[in-house]
Structures are given as C-alpha cells and as structure tokens.
Amino acid sequence: MSTSTDLGVPAMRSGTESVPTVDPDAPAQTGKEFTSDQEVRWCPGCGDYAVLKAVQSFLPDLGLRRENIVFVSGIGCSSRFPYYLDTYGMHSIHGRAPSIATGIATAREDLNVWVVTGDGDALSIGGNHLIHALRRNVNMTILLFNNRIYGLTKGQYSPTSEAGKITKSTPMGSLDHPFNPVSLALGAEASFVARTIDSDRKHLTAVLAAAAAHRGTSLVEIYQNCPIFNDGAFDAIKDRDTKENALIPLVHGQPVTYGVPDDEGNPTKGVIRDPGTGGVKAVDLADLTGPEADHQAALDQLIVHDAHNPDPSVAFAISRLTDSGYLNTSPIGIFRQVERPTYDDQARAQINSSREAAPGTPTDRLTTLINGTDTWTVV
C-alpha cells in the first residue's frame, strides 16, 4: 500500500544526509514518540490538527534521531506547532522564525530543521526573512500554513486574503491585493516550492517527504481551513463535486491535466502555453482534440511539468493559475525543485577549509592573532 502520492521527482543529494539516523535494529519509531505531553489548543475543526497528525506520523518515516530534529515557529495559530512535537523546538517571535532557523541550520549540519509559519507570519511581518531564506537556500523546510486570514488576532484580513474581503478591520472590504505565496517564492528563486492541502493526507505526506529530502530551503504552502474566521475558503478545491475542476495537480514529467474525467477516464482539462501573454492558460482538452477527437493529440500540446527546469519562468506562469480572489482554481504539487548549493553547506565548507589550513592549537593561534605583526616589548 502506498502511503504517499507519486510526485515523480527523483532524489538528489538528500536534505537529511548529514543528520544522524536511528539504529536500524531498534524498534521503529512511532508517531506517539513524536507527540509531546502538551494539550493541543487549536479550535475544533481547525486544519492545523490534520497537518499536525500528518507530520507526527510522517516524522518517524524519516528515520532520523528525534533529538536531531528542530521545529522553529513564529507567532500565530500554526506557530504553536512545536509545542506539540517531542523534538527540540522554539516558538519564537512574529515573522522571525526563518532567521532563527538560519542560525540553527548554519551552525549545525547534523540537525533537521523545520519552520512552521502562517500567511501573516511569513508574508506580512516576516516577508523579508522569508524571501532572504529562500534566496540564501539554507537547508530547512518551511511549512507555510495559509488560511488567508489572521486567526490568533481574531479575524483581520491577511496578505493572502482576497481583495474586497470584509473583516473586522475592513468593514467596507479589504483594499490590499494578495500575495500568491508560490509566485513569491518562485520570484525569490527558491530551490523547492510546493503547495498542498491540509485535508489531503496522502498528498501532504508526499510533499513533506520530498521537501525534507530536498537539500536547501523548501517552501511548502499548505492550504489550511480556519473554521472560525474564514470557514469555507477552500471549499471549491476540497468539495467532492468541484475539486476535480479546481485542483491542477503537478507531476514532474507529466502533461499538466485536470478536470472531471470523461467517460474513458481521461482528464478533460489541461494547461498550455499562451502565446498571447507569454504565460500559460487552462483549456478544455476538447478544444485541442481537433475533428478526430484525438486525445493524445491534445495531450501533446500540453505543458509537460518540469520541476527541475533551472528557469523558474514556467513554474511561475503555472503558479499564476491560482485564483487571487475566492479560490476556484489552484495548481498543487511541486512547482520547482532544483539543485543549488546551500548557504549553510558553503559556510561550513569555508570554515572547515580555513581550519584545516591553520596550524597549531587554538590557544597558540589566538596568541599569534592578538600579537599581530607590529609589537614592541617594554622590559
């Protein structure tokens, strides 16, 4: 039985390569071991529960020593996450988790570092740290819980809320144009960008596994429902009746197709290049099949998803298929995964090579350093 969705992405140098693993002869770790003794205090029905459960059951699969896993969060509902995992963790300050995680990951090659953040934490107050973490490509995985609302402060619009949203702070409708987190991350040249959904355990787990395996900063946007302040924000992509026409699954090496299957089980929609805009657009495959209704001919015209394309332009274009208003259409999956040297690996390499080139004990070298070259002696 497969516990995860095949995303078609082959493994490169692993993100967890230098993290100590559990003894293969020891009994397998369980999700329970990763569960702390703290009472979970999210609202009933919160999407965070599903993500927490998925992470708790997924972490043992990594086979890493629990004490070498660190979760760092900022501020917001989702940022309570580290308290519920029995690993090392820090619940830090608003927006700054990526910077703290950067310090941890750069200082210690042997740690598997996760950041848990939300749309307000990561994209509003912490936007600067997010884009710079992505640019720097420090080896860590950022889980961005996007509920398109401020929950902990009780219901103001967030940087991903649709324009015109009526909230406590915008009684006449929000005037802000929202960020698309995936587009933003691709614009920052992130080396791994993915999107998944709280309620799709299988897809979520598959994306987590790929993100953890990626060496560099992995940005995973997780659509997460807030039942109190923004309930139903993702209904169109979750509802059995509408989701097949709403979700555009991305699988590396496969043509980008979706839509309610036809009688023969074939997808009915797809994504093609749009010469008019230079971007991409979603089309009904029926419009591509021609008079012979040749399904293969239609597939041949579609974009074949290439997550490893060094140029992020196509991935960016695909990300633009996401609705910025109420979410009726959204691609999910791994938009981009490219290999790029990580900041922390290179920083440690500079230190290691400098150390190897320096003779003598630290004490001797300190003496040499502080003496310098121009000294005089008074007797």
Binding site: I93, G103, L111, Q350
Partner: protein, 665 residues
C-alpha cells in the same frame, strides 16, 4: 602648549637644526575625504607606537563617503596625541595642524590654541577652492606682517606647496598628474615623521605591501614619503626637530590597537576560552561594521559570520545559533538595537546566551553616524517590552574592548542571558598601545551543557529546561542532538521548572522576579570597585562609564595637580552595578557623573541609590575635553571644600609645566 626644553644645536647636512625635547604633542592631519588623512594618521600612529610613545588617537570623518571635494562637509581629520608618559585622551586641542586644503584649514582653525603650528599645503589655495571653503580672502595672504585680527596671526604658520613638490618628486614614474598628486599625504607624513623623529621602516614596508600590485604607485608613494622627510631635513623653513622620548610603561609586549579590532579579538578569544564556535549575525552599520569585517577573517577559529538581510535577522540567527550550542553574537549601533529589541526580549525569555554589541553613535534616529555618543545606556537597560533585565558591560578604552568582550561572554554563557556591550564611536575607531595579554591568563568559560535528565527518576525521569542552578539561577542549556533532553522554549511565559507555557498569575510574578534576581546575582561574581583616591581626603567622587574614562582621568589629574583632592572610579558593569557601589557613593559628599548624554547613568544612580549625582553632559559627537571637565570638577570640589577659587586654574594652568595632561604623581 608644548613644553620646550633647552634647545640643542645639531648639525644636519648643511642646515643647522635645533632638537627640542617635548613631553607630549598633539597633531591633527586634516584634508579632503579623498586625501588619505585617516591612512596618514594611522601610519604616524603606528610609527609612534613602535617608537614607544604612549598615545591615543581620534579619527573624525564625515558620514558621506566622498562629500563634494574641497568643501567643509568633506573634511576628514585624524588627531594623534603621543607622549613620553602615560596619557589618557587624544588631547583637547592640537599643537600642530596639517591642513591639505582651504576647507581643512577653516574647519579646524578654531580648535587650535594660540601659538600652535600650522603646516598648510598651499597648492589648493585657489580662488575656487577658497570660495568652496567659504573664505572671501586668502588667509595665507600677508602672513609676513600678520596684524592682530589676521586669521593666522596667533599661529606659527608654514606654507608649503606639498602637492607641487610631490608631483615633481614622483614624475619619473610617469603617473597621471592626478595619481601623482595623490601621494601628497605621504609627503606630509614624511615631513612630520622627520619633525618628530619617527621611525620610517614600518611605513615603507606598509607601502610596499599595500601597493605591491601597482609598482609605479608603490614607488611614487615611497618616494613622496622619503622626499617629505628629506625636505624637512634640508629646508630652512623648518628649523627645529622635536624629540619625544619613549614612555615608561609596565613591562610587557605591546601593540597599537583600535577598539573595534580589540573587540573582535575579544570575541575570538571568548570562543577559544569557552570552546564554543562563535556565530555572528550582523547587518552593516557605522561604526560597528569593522567588527563584522574582522570576524569574517577568522573562520579558522570556527567563527561563522552571517551578513543578514536586516538587523532583526542578524540577532535572530545569533539566537538560533545559541540555541544550537554556539556563542551567538550580534553587532550593531543604536538604530540596530532599536530593531533588535523584540528579539533580545526573546533571548531574555528563553534564557539563552547572546552577546549584543552596541557601538554607540550620535542619535536619535540616524543621528550622527560617524560621531560618538553614550546615549544608548537607557535603551540597553530598558529598551524592551515588559520586565526584561539585560546585563550591561562597557569598555573604557580601545584596548579594553578586548577584556570587556571576554567578560560579556563569561556572563552570557554562565548566566544564560543576553548581555549588552556598550562601546562607542570614539573607542571603536580610536587607538592606543595595548599590552597584549597572555592567553593563559584569560578566564576559561565553561558552557556546562546539560547532558542528562534533571527531574524524576527511572521511567519518570524528565528534562526540565527551567530548573535552575541554586547559585547562579541559570537554567540548563541543553542543545539539540542531546538525546532525552528534547524540549521546547519560546517567547510565551514559562512555568518555573518544567518550562511549559504558563499563564498562571503567580508563576508570572515569580518568573519576572526570578529573571531579575538572576541578573542581580551576577554581582556576586564581580570584583570590588577600584576607587582612585590618592590622598584619601577627597570629598568629590567622579564616576563614569565607557569611553569617558580617559577624559575623566585627565581631568582628575589636573585638579590634583592644582592641589585639590578628588576621587575617581569607573564602571565596567552597568547592570548589575557592583555590590559595593552604594557604599562607595555614600562615602563622598558630592558625586559627579560625566557622560556623553543628558544624564543617563546619573538617572540610574539617583533611582538606585538616592544619591544626588551631578551630571557633566556633552552631546556634540566628540569626546569630552579634559580641560572643560577639569573646570567642572574643580568647581564642584571648591563647593564641597567650601573654598573660593577661580575654576580657570584647572582648565588653563598658569604654573609651569603648562601641560594639560600631566603624568600622575
């Protein structure tokens, strides 16, 4: 004023030269920002240090990298005070001004005492440059019969076409006129090096190395330097050469060092002495950036430097590194501290070691980026939300920045707390001879990582991250990778002991008091304060902190020389205060607190000890002048002693020797 000794006749070449003995000289090199005055001053300082004089320096430069050439805004200067005895400041007023253009002359003339020597490069005294400097008439005109009221009447002026002679001297190297003229600072350095008998080998070696890749520039600079020396030796314009004998210093090996360099070395030393990798998260800011630059060179000591995207990320990364078992450090100036405040509060709450280095500059806001000030004390003390006590240490001289950095690290690691180190622009860029410590004498700092559970037995054994050491009240530092000690910390209030989130009112009250008590406990580890009260009869205590140490010491020497009693002490630790401070304050009738702010330490002393501290406050971006302070201290002494005297006796001594910074007696 310079104290002349009996002139000695000496034959040098064809020209008869006098050699005069001086005990101390203050020289200021001033020119356009692009004229290389900082380099010239640095080289003169290095030569003086190697020669064995005691010295202090005061670089002073505009915030603009290249302000419009020839303007007053673009003037950059470097003052060096060197002596045959122990000195404490870079000097109040220069005895010698070297002015490379009209703006440099005009910007500095008002600082000169009567009788000062002025050496002027006449080359740039053109109509256009005079106008740029705001001169309506050439101040060098009619020098010969300078009448009272002539701007140069009070000075001993040497007009020399430094640029013209430089260009002539280096013409064989085929440089453009512009490049040739750029060597004029080395001509000036050569001339001054001759005048004061400085060794020259160091500068020649320096130039050879610096311009190794451009041989014609290298040769031109060396030639200009030597030509300047020879010019002094042969011209009749300079009839006197001066000798300032090496100073008597405590036995040991010395080097010249700036505050920022000493601070950087202190951080490297803290890493070596604690066995912890140093992790610097920093964002460039004047005048702290040099620490980032310096530490970036020391990767071989395991020092990681991250130039972050902003001040907050710099401290955030440092906190993360500390959580992971490094010595997290962040370096900045006042505006950066403002940005880091919330994160420093996080380090207070999570009780992680963290060094926060604030190289203070003029504020508020962007303020005076390149000028010095001590106005961040209250920001360091209170600049966070909630009750967020942070220990504060301050170095008192450039070389002392080394010791202060190691001490700050000791406190941070031992007590698991962020520590604020308050340097300032004067210490950062100023330099002095530094007696190099023996590494074996430096304190060893034990990180004392937690390795085992600390609560309960057997199957119930747990790790409680907030179970404290009974003596220090420090919590255990368990770093990721330690099996069985997995735990979560964060900015929410922690329950005492177990460290889980707690909103319990009584617990919060207890934790607030405990964090304060932990910082207060640091005082148990501090040595008694040293009070300098030579006669034991002083009624006035002068108490300072940070870089005012030099001016305060120099002012007290003056007051004592005039025959009065005054005591001095200086605080390394601003939070907590040393335990005996209250008792010491109570011993004196009057307490004066000189500060480069509007009375921040005085406010703390008044609040803590109910002492009627009197401020001496200056916020003009420059160090306090010893003469000004001596007058204020003297006036207070007179008041305390109930005597009537003219305070001018302290600031303008009329009795010989007319030195304004005496050696201690």
């Amino acid at each position: 004023m310079i104290r002349p000794a009996a002139p000695v006749e000496l034959k040098v070449g064809q020209v008869s030269k006098q050699v005069k003995q001086l005990d101390r000289v203050i020289i200021r090199f001033a020119g356009d920002s692009g004229d290389g005055m900082q380099l010239t001053g640095d080289r003169f300082t290095s030569e003086s240090a190697v020669f064995g004089n005691d010295l202090m320096t005061l670089p002073n430069f505009p915030a603009e990298i290249r302000a419009p050439a020839g303007t007053m805004a673009g003037v950059s200067s470097f003052q060096v005070h060197f002596a045959d005895h122990d000195i404490l400041t870079a000097g109040d007023a220069p005895d010698v001004l070297v002015a490379m253009n009209p703006a440099a002359l005009r910007a500095n003339l008002a600082d000169l005492p009567k009788g000062a020597t002025v050496i002027v490069d006449t080359h740039d005294f053109t109509k256009r440059n005079l106008e740029k400097a705001g001169y309506t008439a050439n101040p060098l005109d009619s020098l010969g019969d300078a009448a009272p009221g002539h701007p140069m009447a009070d000075f001993n002026v040497h007009t020399v076409d430094l640029t013209g002679m430089t260009v002539e001297a280096v013409k064989e190297y085929g440089l453009s006129r512009k490049d040739a003229a750029r060597a004029k600072n080395m001509f000036a350095l050569g001339l001054l090096s001759w005048m004061y008998g400085r060794p020259t080998e160091g500068t020649e070696a320096f130039l050879s190395k610096r311009f190794a890749k451009v041989p014609d520039i290298r040769d031109a600079n060396i030639t200009a330097f030597k030509t300047g020396w020879n010019f002094g030796e042969t011209t009749e314009a300079f009839a006197v050469q001066y000798e300032i004998k090496p100073a008597e210093m405590t036995a040991g090996t010395y080097r010249n060092i700036t505050g920022n360099l000493a601070l950087s070395y202190g951080l490297v030393a803290a890493g070596v002495q604690s066995g912890l990798p140093v992790f610097l998260g920093s964002y460039p800011i004047t005048p702290a950036s040099d620490i980032l630059h310096e530490l970036s060179k020391h990767k071989s000591f395991g020092v990681t430097t991250l130039q972050a995207e902003d001040e907050i990320a710099g401290v955030g990364a440092a906190i993360g590194a500390s959580f992971a078992g490094s010595l997290g450090v962040t370096t900045t100036s006042g505006p950066g501290i403002a940005l880091k405040s919330e994160a420093i509060g996080l380090a207070v709450m999570t009780e992680l070691p963290l060094l926060v280095i604030d190289v203070q500059r003029g504020g508020p806001s962007t303020g005076l980026p390149t000028k010095t000030e001590q106005a961040d004390l209250l920001q360091a003390m209170f600049g966070r939300n909630g009750e967020a006590p942070v220990p504060i240490v301050a170095p008192q001289s450039p070389g002392d920045c080394f010791t202060a950095a190691v001490e700050a690290a000791r406190i941070a690691i031992t007590y698991r707390t962020p520590v604020m180190l308050l340097s300032d622009g004067y210490l950062a860029n100023g330099s002095e001879p530094w007696k190099i410590p023996e590494v074996a004498d430096l304190p060893v700092i034990d990180p004392d990582f937690a390795t085992a559970t600390n609560h309960g037995e057997g199957d119930d054994a747990e790790f409680w991250p907030y179970l404290r050491d009974a003596d220090t009240l420090a919590r255990p530092w368990a770093i990721p990778g330690t099996a069985g000690l997995e735990h979560r910390i964060g900015g929410l209030e922690k329950g005492e002991g177990h460290g889980n989130i707690s909103y319990d009112p009584a617990n919060h009250d207890f934790m607030v008091r405990t964090r304060a008590a932990k910082v207060a406990r640091i005082a148990d580890s501090l040595p008694p304060l040293e009070v300098d009260d030579p006669s034991g009869e002083a009624k006035v205590l002068v108490l300072g902190w940070g870089s005012t140490y030099g001016p305060i010491g120099a002012a007290c020497r003056r007051v004592r020389r005039a025959g009065y009693h005054v005591a001095q002490t200086h605080l390394r630790h601003l939070n907590p205060f040393p335990k005996d401070l209250g008792e010491i304050l109570a011993r004196y009738d009057k307490v004066m607190v000189p500060e480069m702010n509007l009375g921040q330490l005085a406010l703390l002393l008044r609040g803590t000890y109910l002492v009627d501290a009197v401020g001496f406050n200056q916020v003009n971006g420059m160090p306090i002048k010893a003469a000004d302070l001596a007058e204020a201290v003297g006036t207070l002494v007179a008041e305390a002693e109930g005597i009537d005297l003219d305070p001018a006796v302290f600031s303008h001594p009329t009795t010989a020797p007319a030195d304004h910074e005496e050696a201690p007696r």
